[in-house]
Symmetry: C2
Amino acid sequence: MQILFDRIRKDGIVKSGNVLKVDRFLNHQMDIELFREIGKEFKRRFSDVEINKILTIEASGIGIACVTAEFFHVPVVFAKKTKTKNIAGEVYTTKVESFTHGTVYDIIVSKEFLGKGDKVLVIDDFLANGKALDGLTTLIRDSGAELVGAGIVIEKGFQEGGRRIREKGIRLESLAIVDSMDEKTGEITFKNE
Amino acid sequence: MQILFDRIRKDGIVKSGNVLKVDRFLNHQMDIELFREIGKEFKRRFSDVEINKILTIEASGIGIACVTAEFFHVPVVFAKKTKTKNIAGEVYTTKVESFTHGTVYDIIVSKEFLGKGDKVLVIDDFLANGKALDGLTTLIRDSGAELVGAGIVIEKGFQEGGRRIREKGIRLESLAIVDSMDEKTGEITFKNE
C-alpha cells in the first residue's frame, strides 16, 4: 500500500529501542482520509470471506476499526482495558502484557457482544510481539465466535508477533511490514514494498 | 434526531443511580451506520462555522469522532488518559474527575497537534457533569486554539454539565437530551424530542 509506506516515511519518527512513532497520522492525531484508504484496502483483502463483526482494542484501534467497518457494513466491538474487577459471568476476560509500558492489564468484552455465530475480523493499528492480538484471539475462542482473520496497519516484521501468529494458522494481513528502521538516518525499509 | 431517540429507548438500559447504559450501540458495541447518521447531523448543525480539527477523548469518543470527521474532512485528535508523568513542555495536560469511577485522571494532548490557528470542534458520546468537556476546553485554551463548539450524542439534561457549559458561552449541540429516566419502568423522556 504505497500511500501508507510513503506516509510512514514522511511522518513516522524512528526512536531508540525499535520504537516507531506514528502519532502524527495514526494513533494520536488521526488522518481520516488515510483511514478511508486503509479501510478500503482491508475490504479488498478480506473480500472473499464472510465477516459480521469487527473486534478491536482500545484506544488506538478504535478509529481505524470504525472507518473500516463502513466498508464491511458490520458493527465494531472494542475490548476494554481495565483494572476493575468484573462480575464473573458477564464478560470474557484475559490478561495482556504491554510491550510499550512493561505492564500487564486485563482486557474484557461483554458476553452480550461476542459469541457463537460471530465471524470476526480483528483490526488494530500495530503488531509487534503480538500480545494484544493473542488476547483478542483468546476472547474470541472463549466466546465460541470464529476468528476469520486479522488486519493490521503496521507490523514490525523484525519482532516475533507476525511469524508466531501466522504459524498458528491465523490469516494475518498487515498493510505495512517494517523490515528495518535506522534510528540515526531515519531510514525505514518494508518487507512488502 | 428521531432515530437516536428510538434507538436509546430500544437498546438503552436505565440503571440505578441515574446510569444509562448504551453499550449495545454507542460505547462498547458500536453501530457504524448510526454513527454515519450522527456524523451527518453534527455536520448539519455546525455547517455555518469553520472547523479544521476535531478533538475527542479516549476511548468511547474516538469512533464517533472519526466517522463525524469524514463529513468535515478534518483530522481527529484524541486526548489520552494517562497516569504516566510526561516531560513538561511536550504536552498540554489537565486533570479530569470521573463521575462514573469516582477517580481523578490526567488527560494529555501533544503540543504538536493542537495550537494557534486550530478551529476545534469537540465530539464526545456523553455529557453528564461536564468534567471531561471542561478538561478538553482547558487544553484548547492553553494551546491557543479556538473552541468552535461541542457536539455530544447524549446529554443528561438533569445533571448540571450542559447548563454550566452553555452559561460559559460555549456552543453546545446535544443530539439527545435526556430529561428523565425511570429505573423501574425503563421509560426515558427527552427534552428535545
